[in-house]
């Protein structure tokens, strides 16, 4: 679940690193975990935060590395290249919310709790993200 989230939320190039960091952070912080038996849920929450931080960090880098390495990981046809580029161009919170909703099929209440926002904000982020994806990809 966490890996599938990260593959789309941060892209295939950095998914492994963020996955490792998320689980190690979950292990470090587990006494504060709401339900210790669900370490994966806890790790997903951390992964969401890290995905957003990751975008902010890469956005500050001078080179526009966002789309290229993802395309270079091979496999997907060109249609997906275009989709990847648009997904990568979404504002971080929208991208994360869209992935929770449409890749992992999470209910809005859960997305809100994972992202630490209200349910309305979760809906708004998903809707805005999907609107820009649909607007740019026909």
């Amino acid at each position: 679940m966490v890996m599938r989230f990260l593959l789309v939320a941060v892209g295939p190039t950095d998914a492994d690193d963020v996955f490792q960091e998320s689980f190690l952070a979950a292990l470090r912080a587990y006494p504060r975990c709401d339900d210790p038996r669900r370490l994966d849920r806890w790790a997903l929450k951390i992964a969401s935060r890290k995905a957003i931080d990751h975008h902010r960090a890469t956005a500050r880098r001078p080179l526009p590395t966002d789309a290229l390495p993802e395309r270079a990981t091979g496999g997907p046809p060109e249609v997906d290249d275009e989709l990847w580029a648009e997904v990568a161009a979404l504002p971080p919170k929208q991208r994360v919310a869209v992935v929770h909703r449409h890749v992992l099929d999470r209910p809005y209440a859960e997305i809100a709790s994972i992202m630490g926002t209200s349910e309305e904000a979760a809906r708004a982020n998903v809707a805005a993200g999907m609107r820009s994806l649909r607007g740019r990809l026909r």
Binding site: V2, M3, Q20, V99
Partner: protein, 206 residues
Amino acid sequence: MSGRDLRRLASPATADERARAAADHVRERALDDGLVDVAVGLVDGPVGELQVAVTGRGLVYVAYDDEDREELVARYAGALSPRIVRSARATDEVRRELTEYFAGTRTAFDLTVDRRLMHPFARTVLAATSRVGYGELATYGQIATRIGHPSAARAVGAALGSNPVPIVVPCHRIVGAGGRLTGYAGGLDRKETLLRLEGALPPRLV
């Protein structure tokens, strides 16, 4: 553009494969960084494949292969800590001692036992059980007498049945009155195998 297009960007199969590889790195790093409270490993032997778990305090459980492993891990995550990883490396010492025992070259375990999963009464019973040596037998009644509750033979049986570390705490050496092999959490066949291995029962002639 639909949700289906997005899902196609990361198939569950690809994600699973990558998650497994990344999880191996997490395990190794977590062990190195001291972030692990429980390490789980497997040990092969004549009584089937055992799942063993160690904590910083010692060996915390030994489980026969007829128990659901995922469920065990979930149960112990609740009872001990969710910081559990599978690691052959961290369970090496237990594997070595058990393998020597199964080969007949070890008659006593040097492993420290973590008693956290034992109820208070079971701790007393299992401590008395640990003093029954290799190849020896004792009855439930004798153990009851040794712990100062001579009429508690039945409760002794129940406590032995709850033993989280079979083999290492040798509950298989405790038998019914007159030496009858009665209950064993791992099944009577295994009890018999262990007692024959120790020479407490004559070897079976084929």
